[in-house]
């Protein structure tokens, strides 16, 4: 009788094993975590996009050096693999490629290309295929809605929010005559509109408020026209080519304003400086961003000094803001995978919700609202002040993180 019992026991175990097999198969971990992304090697977004991509690439390499990223759902480290295609700054090509990453390459995670234009096509695709889109720098407010959980902005606030601190600076320093010139696209117009609204709420009406075409490359006549309105501050919202042209023309024209503000010197200082020269940037204001802005409280990932050192050592490239943004996106992915108990997209989003507000990286506080938009990192106001060794960018507002006092009016 005993052998009968044994056989039955074995048979039972066998049967149970077979029944449980699909459950085990479901829980089998992938050999690699596939992360899909795009970059632009040519076209108007190339400079920023390749920087951002290299930052993400650096993160992947660092993580693989340590055996991979820790995935809580499988309780082990798994190496990551970046699958990246070139969209040549074209939205139509980008759409096809995002689709391909999801349907053919079957990536586990999706990271958007640089900027609102190249991210815009990814948003509906990610939503349709129900895959979470990690968005480093696509800051258009219209991407985000409470109904779409498949989108998280990792490294910047939405563009409409950027000028809030700048507006405060102007108001508290009683700068009442403000001229605003902006290039006509989503990114810059949303900032101009926010600034105008905030100024008008404080009873300050801009003396000059005009849009110019995005491909404007000569600001001389515009500067002359602005001069005629005698503003104290001149705020220029544009993309890097606009900023470069504007600063060059401003210097050549010899026009003097008490305060001049542009966006991209704070993000891509090397590129701007090479084209306009150090003198043209002296005493101008901008949004300081990492690495020109150093956050000292870091509880996840490398702090800025370490990142700069290791990155420049390994890749022989300089660090600019886009590099930081790409690396930061990687950090958020890493935290998501190491927090999420299940390996599916909605669980990832829930995990992000759970650690939002608790992570301080070299890019600042990571905190999102219920739409997935960033509300942790904000953009302060900084001024380039000349020193014996070149330009130093000092944060001049808000006071609690200021590293210097503004020199106003500019000499």
């Amino acid at each position: 009788m005993r052998w009968f019992k044994n056989v039955t026991l074995v048979l039972l175990a066998f049967v149970v094993g077979i029944i449980l097999l699909p459950f085990q198969a479901k829980a089998a971990a992938p050999k690699q975590i596939l992360i899909g992304t795009l970059y632009a090697s040519s076209g108007p977004f190339a400079t920023s996009s390749t920087s951002q991509y290299h930052g993400l690439e650096f993160w992947a390499n660092q993580v693989n050096k340590q055996g991979g990223v820790y995935v809580a759902a499988f309780k082990k480290k798994i190496p990551v693999k970046l699958i990246a295609y070139d969209d040549q700054s074209s939205t139509t090509l980008a759409a096809t490629l995002y689709n391909q990453l999801i349907t053919r390459d079957k990536v586990n995670l999706l990271v958007a290309d640089f900027g609102s234009v190249l991210t815009s096509v990814a948003v509906p695709i990610a939503q349709e295929h129900k895959i979470l889109l990690f968005d480093p720098t696509g800051t258009s407010a219209k991407f985000f809605s409470p109904k779409n959980p498949y989108l998280v902005l990792t490294s910047l606030p939405t563009s409409g929010v950027w000028p809030t601190v700048l507006a405060d600076f102007l108001i508290t320093h009683k700068i009442n005559k403000v001229a605003v010139i902006y290039s006509a696209n989503d990114f810059n117009q949303s900032q101009a509109e926010t600034l105008k609204a905030k100024l008008e709420a404080a009873k300050i009406k801009p003396v000059y408020y005009h849009a110019v075409p995005t491909d404007t490359s000569n600001y001389t006549v515009l500067i002359r026209t602005i001069q005629a309105t005698h503003p104290e501050a001149l705020i220029e919202f544009g993309y890097p080519p606009n900023d470069i042209a504007f600063l060059q023309n401003l210097q050549a024209s010899g026009a003097k304003f008490n305060m001049v503000f542009t966006i991209f010197p704070g993000q891509q200082l090397a590129l701007i400086e090479k084209n306009v020269g150090t003198k043209a940037l002296e005493y101008t204001y901008t949004y300081p961003t990492p690495p020109l802005l150093v956050y000292n409280k870091v509880n996840y990932g490398m702090p800025m000094s370490e990142f700069e050192k290791i990155y420049t050592q390994e890749t022989k490239r300089p660090v600019d803001f886009l590099t930081v943004a790409g690396y930061n996106a990687g950090l958020i992915i890493e935290k998501t995978l190491s927090t999420s108990k299940e390996f599916n997209q909605l669980a990832f989003r829930n995990a992000i919700n759970s650690f939002s507000g608790k992570i301080f990286t070299l890019n600042g506080l990571f905190k999102i609202n219920n739409e997935g938009a960033q509300i942790g990192e904000f953009l302060p106001v900084g001024q380039f002040q000349p020193t014996k060794t070149g330009l130093a960018l000092h944060v001049v507002y808000p006071m609690n993180i200021a590293t210097g006092k503004p020199i106003y009016p500019a000499p």
Binding site: V221, T225, A252, G254, L271
Partner: protein
């Protein structure tokens, strides 16, 4: 009122420069009836040539002018003999040239990206002279004045060539009627090749001045320069190179006034003018009949 004068003066100065931009395109079309859609990319090459010389040899970019004249004359000969005889024999040379030169534009842009990368490059205004000069009590950047003067001199040379030299006469004969010119014994292909060389050199020379008038350069400015050149040429008249001066000045003034008073509509100006002219007086303000049916 001040703004008005500033717009007017800068409009005229820019207009002269724009005339230089368009005159090469006009010459090539007038002589060969071919539409050089790569015109803007040749301008871009000229600009990069000046930047290279300034950056690597550390001398004034204006020195690139004589160098580029030689280089692009040679290039022009090559381009002519490579493409034009074959194209002339086909069914619709005008249209096919459109597309051919578009292909050339793509090739040039791709090679430029390989050679120079995507980033903006600039040449400081100070290389053309510091500060500003006062005209009609308006401070005008010195660099603009120099560019306008250089453009004027170059256009002057072209005028002299076309109206006071034998080859120039022959060129105008071909522009008027190719068959008749050939029957009188003019070597159409040699003169046309020469004209192609001149046309491309003119584009390159406009390119040398471009970093000062238009701003920083990168390989992708070619296509917008081409469309701008078309507007300029059509306003003056397609086929009459000297008419390009008028086209340039009208274009320049319109742009500057738009920028001063209605900044966000600036881009619309060249196209609206172009359409209006083509509908009202398609031969251009100075040209002869080109209506079809």
């Amino acid at each position: 009122m001040e703004l008005f004068f500033y717009a007017l003066i800068s409009g005229v100065l820019f207009g002269i420069f724009f005339a230089l931009v368009g005159i090469g395109l006009n010459l090539i079309f007038g002589v060969m009836r071919m539409v050089n859609l790569a015109h803007g990319d040749f301008i871009m090459l000229g600009a990069f040539g000046a930047w290279l010389i300034f950056n690597k040899l550390d001398i004034n970019p204006l020195w690139s002018i004589p160098i580029e004249i030689v280089v692009f004359m040679i290039v022009g000969f090559f381009v002519y003999y490579a493409f034009v005889p074959r194209l002339s024999k086909s069914k619709d040379p005008e249209m096919l040239s459109f597309i051919l030169f578009f292909g050339v534009a793509q090739v040039i842009e791709a090679l430029a990206i390989f050679a120079f990368g995507n980033n903006q490059k600039s040449i400081p205004f100070s290389t053309l002279g510091q500060g500003s000069v006062t005209i009609l009590s308006q401070p005008i950047p010195f660099a603009w004045l120099i560019s306008a003067i250089i453009s004027l001199i170059i256009i002057g040379f072209i005028y002299y060539y076309l109206y006071h030299t034998r080859m120039g006469y022959a060129t105008r004969a071909i522009m008027s009627s190719q068959e008749e010119a050939a029957s009188v014994g003019i070597s159409v292909s040699k003169i046309s090749a020469f004209a192609m060389g001149i046309g491309l050199s003119l584009a390159a020379l406009a390119g040398v001045l471009a970093p000062f008038m238009i701003g920083s350069i990168d390989p992708s400015i070619g296509s917008s320069l081409t469309t701008m050149s078309f507007a300029i040429v059509v306003i003056g008249s397609l086929g009459n190179p000297i008419g390009t001066i008028l086209g340039g000045i009208i274009y320049g003034i319109a742009m500057m006034f738009m920028q001063t008073y209605l900044a966000s509509w600036t881009n619309l100006v060249p196209y609206v003018i172009l359409i209006l002219i083509l509908l009202v007086k398609p031969a251009g303000l100075l040209g002869k009949k080109v209506r079809n049916a």
